[in-house]
Point group: D2
């Protein structure tokens, strides 16, 4: 039985507690939050869970084997470092850390102590993303041409980070999971509208080898919610619309083949227009599945797709994107 | 009666002929195309129209007052120059020209001879774009925050130009028409997949003063057709979905106001979620309306929104975008 | 403080308990269910609530002021009668009862004892239905022409009732609430496909005075979920799509006016095509609002829209519809 | 070369002329219309076609082999009879005739003279309906459970017929084509709102053997255009949305199997939720294909699916439906 301590019970913390509380193989021993009101709420919902507002009490608690951290990103490094020091494996909310150095250090520290790090890239555990990964593994899509993701909404403005740090970790984690190559460079543009120096709209382009390109459109100022990803391949193309309750993924038997160019005006292009197919997508709660995987990862060393290295990669791309953003779109090599 | 000569009867030419043939105040005297089969087709459909494969025969024809040019962009400058030389006003297919110098020279030549130039920015004459312009004129949207346009499809690959030259003139002409400011700089990213050195996917960001940003996503390799533009303003936000047969424009009474920041974690943000409203949009054929405007422009000097200067601006932005594209997204000032 | 007892903790019971547990002015004292496993679950979730599998223990409990019944319809009459006998007001799951006689008797019994009856017509408390009622009250729609509701899905087959008893109570309650007249007659057609004598598809037409017509399409065998209601009026028409997360209600400024008929072939018809408008719809949980109303109804005698008479009317229409259904669509006067 | 005469050049006539004019194997010799303005328009568009306002001149014309009739239904019988008398095969607009006796007489007369009758059930030649027929032929859907069609719009009010005669011929022809059985009885309800005695809304239920049921919802007073047909089968279910530009047909691997009923409350139901699949649908113009088929039918005796018998069947169902409608939904056996 993996005994979890959870730090932070704000927006996402309750979901983490609920899932680690209910999956087989783990229990939640203690929750820590600064806010006493919130601690009362925890106590009301889960009588068996101890609560504290003293972080050390939780981190040093001998009845806590592993720690989930669901606090603002600026606190991640310090809290995770302490936890590792105390010999606890760590489940970290995304984004993993705020700098590459922090991320590298956490990965190294955990490795040295033979502890486990998992970053909460929830989407990787959704039925939709797992289905996309499977379609790529089965070579249904063929060679990948592009990945184009739009994640816009009248979003919750964050007090401390821009829209890239808030929303793009999702898209980057998915992109990183489904594309086998690693990006070479990023170009990011964007702007903020409210005198805070924080962008509320941003556009990220990642360049890969082999002419693969990935684009991410994140926006807190959209009147409509859009969560759509297009992935084009040489054999098939797919559209993932995460807002659709059913038929989230549609695979199109469409494509283009440029055969030859006979003379100046005779471009021979074959367009393929075939059937569309919407494979069934599993509906299990992603966070629940991820909690189960964390248990297996920590207790049995099972392999996972969102370990510390995945978190580090994600941060690397976020940092590079923000560097480009700060220079109005200058190319930044990763 | 304005007597039109039309050069080029390929994809778009027939629409130009049909409209100048049928609107009051103009007639089509002659059509020129290289292809004899096509000329026969013209003759079958319109007995009164003379046909020729000799460009000079059309341009120098004294029964031709003005010339519409619907040929590939690489020929625009030469044909339009000749027409101006012969004292004919010119209606030019988009994109206006392939270089800024060509565009400037045409504008200057036409001005010197007191002739008129119109560029076929068809979308400016659609009910949807005219409605958007009106909403901005009436200050319904408030201060503009952003313009974000997606124009993707399994598109017709062009033999001579990339996707930016093919599709972006539409979005740039619309953006240029509805945003009152002029862009300062552009960042363009993209890639081609078929060993021709021509991009089939591109992403353009235009930076304006006052934190306005415009983004254009053009893609010939999408399995689905998307033609959606979001425009965010301080008072209202709108979504224009050009694929919808009705309700093309939806105006959302949604918005964000950041009131103050009390302490580190207390960002006071007001979110406004109100009604949505889809104003009726006129369904007149845009090209017909444009043909009427061309007649009024040439014969009465009526003002229009798509004159040679508009064409020149459009080319300036296309050229800048392609320059940025060639440098992987380097910022190019316009 | 209104102390509630809840009988039945199957599909809908947990929602009833959760809401009466949390709204101001009520608490849940006891839950009764036949299934011991389920009672354990209740106890785990709500330590303060007593549980029993003995119905009489709940009904006669002096710490229970009012009783919510969420059991199959065939048990409603008996349980509600007992509760009334013991002096308890009753909240009954829909459908109210299985016969008109039962419904009439309950209404009479409750009146005699000055007790309150509420039937769970949840939809009447949704933001959407309340907005529709308001649009009619404000004469936005004008004279009502028709009400056309489709409620289809790959539905949960019920063991004891047909699709009319399962789904149509919703539509009938809404129709009864938004149309001011009462229906004169019903024609119902339908069929079952699984040798149980229970229809899984049915179509109901209700005839009203003044040429108002209402139609209900219910189907457990649809591959797609549809929950759409069209309401046509002389001034405006609306579409309520309950599956849409936002923009559930769209009001169309569309209409027809037949002016005169000049000669055989000259029907003068005016078609009005104007704007569309999607008023903001409140998102509060309907059941929560209904629980609050039940408290006010029982404790202060506040007026409600879903009292015993509403339940009786609903049953009357259901019974008439089923009678018509049994005769392949014969007209049944209500 | 089949030489066609066309009577009626109103709403649909121009499409008939255009197609018979352009398909191989037929030409249009003469067009007849009462309206001189319209005849001028014909002459302007097609110089080779003779025009007349004298019906006899067309019907008796020895340069006319077959006659297409696109006039109001009340004239169909007389015009078609005359044409048959003159030895001409006939292509008749839908609805075929206004009475069953007329339809039977036309079928008999044509048979006696060995002439051909085709009724314009255009939808049978669309890619969508042909695909549905193929899915049934290939036993993809399994045993058919139901057919449920909605065809509503802010429709063109007809001066002489109700919405059933105007719109339902389409749905009935499709239903008759895709369901192998013949309906036993019909129940139709509906109402008119404009003091003309003509229904503008109607609901038709057709009962078949084997528990198959078909339902048709036609409405001229809908603010939105809906053209959706659901077909449920034991193996698969499909939704045909004719408004979708692509993906008109979606086939769902969904279904229900009732295994057994163990005890009162234990209904064992298997729900199958699998993939969805949208087969490619041909985009050829249906009327063009039908014109080709008419040529083959008349000149080579090729078999067709919309001959006089199909027209007669369609009229039989329309007449029965209207009889039921006149009796508020009384069951009418066909």
């Amino acid at each position: 039985m993996l005994r979890m301590g959870v730090i932070g019970y704000g927006y996402w913390g309750p979901n983490i507690v609920r899932n680690f509380y209910s999956v087989a193989g783990s229990q939640v021993t203690m929750v820590c939050d600064m806010n006493q009101q919130i601690l009362k709420k925890v106590k009301n919902t889960y009588q068996q869970i101890n609560v504290t507002s003293d972080i050390d009490e939780l981190i040093k608690n001998t009845e806590v084997d592993a720690i989930a951290i669901a606090t603002p990103v600026c606190t991640h490094y310090e809290l995770a470092s302490k936890a590792i020091e105390e010999g606890k494996s760590v489940f970290l909310e995304k984004p993993f850390t705020y700098t590459v150095a922090e991320a590298e250090d956490l990965v190294e520290k955990a490795a040295r102590k033979n502890l486990k790090l998992m970053v909460d890239h929830t989407f990787l555990y959704t039925g939709a993303v797992r289905k996309i990964r499977q379609l790529i593994d089965d070579d249904v899509l063929g060679k990948i041409y592009y990945f184009d993701s739009t994640r816009v909404n009248l979003g919750l403005f964050q007090h401390d980070v821009n829209v890239v740090w808030d929303l793009a970790p999702h898209d980057i984690s998915i992109m990183d999971y489904v594309i086998d190559e690693k990006p070479q460079a990023v170009v990011a543009t964007g702007v903020g509208h409210f005198d805070r120096g924080l962008e509320d709209i941003a556009y990220l382009t990642f360049y890969y080898d082999n002419n693969i390109i990935a684009h991410i459109n994140v926006n807190w100022l959209s009147p409509v919610k859009v969560r759509t990803t297009l992935i084009g391949g040489s054999k098939k193309m797919l559209v993932w619309n995460d807002i659709e309750p059913d038929e989230k993924i549609k695979v199109y038997d469409k494509g283009v083949q440029i055969k030859s160019k006979e003379g100046k005006y005779n471009l021979l292009v074959d367009y393929r227009w075939g059937d569309m197919w919407a494979p069934k997508v599993e509906q299990t709660e992603a966070l629940r599945l991820m909690a189960e995987k964390f248990v297996g990862y920590v207790t049995n060393g099972d392999s996972i797709v969102n370990d510390g290295m995945a978190g580090l990669n994600n941060v690397r791309m976020l940092v590079a994107a923000n560097k480009s953003l700060n220079h109005k779109g200058a190319v930044v090599y990763i």
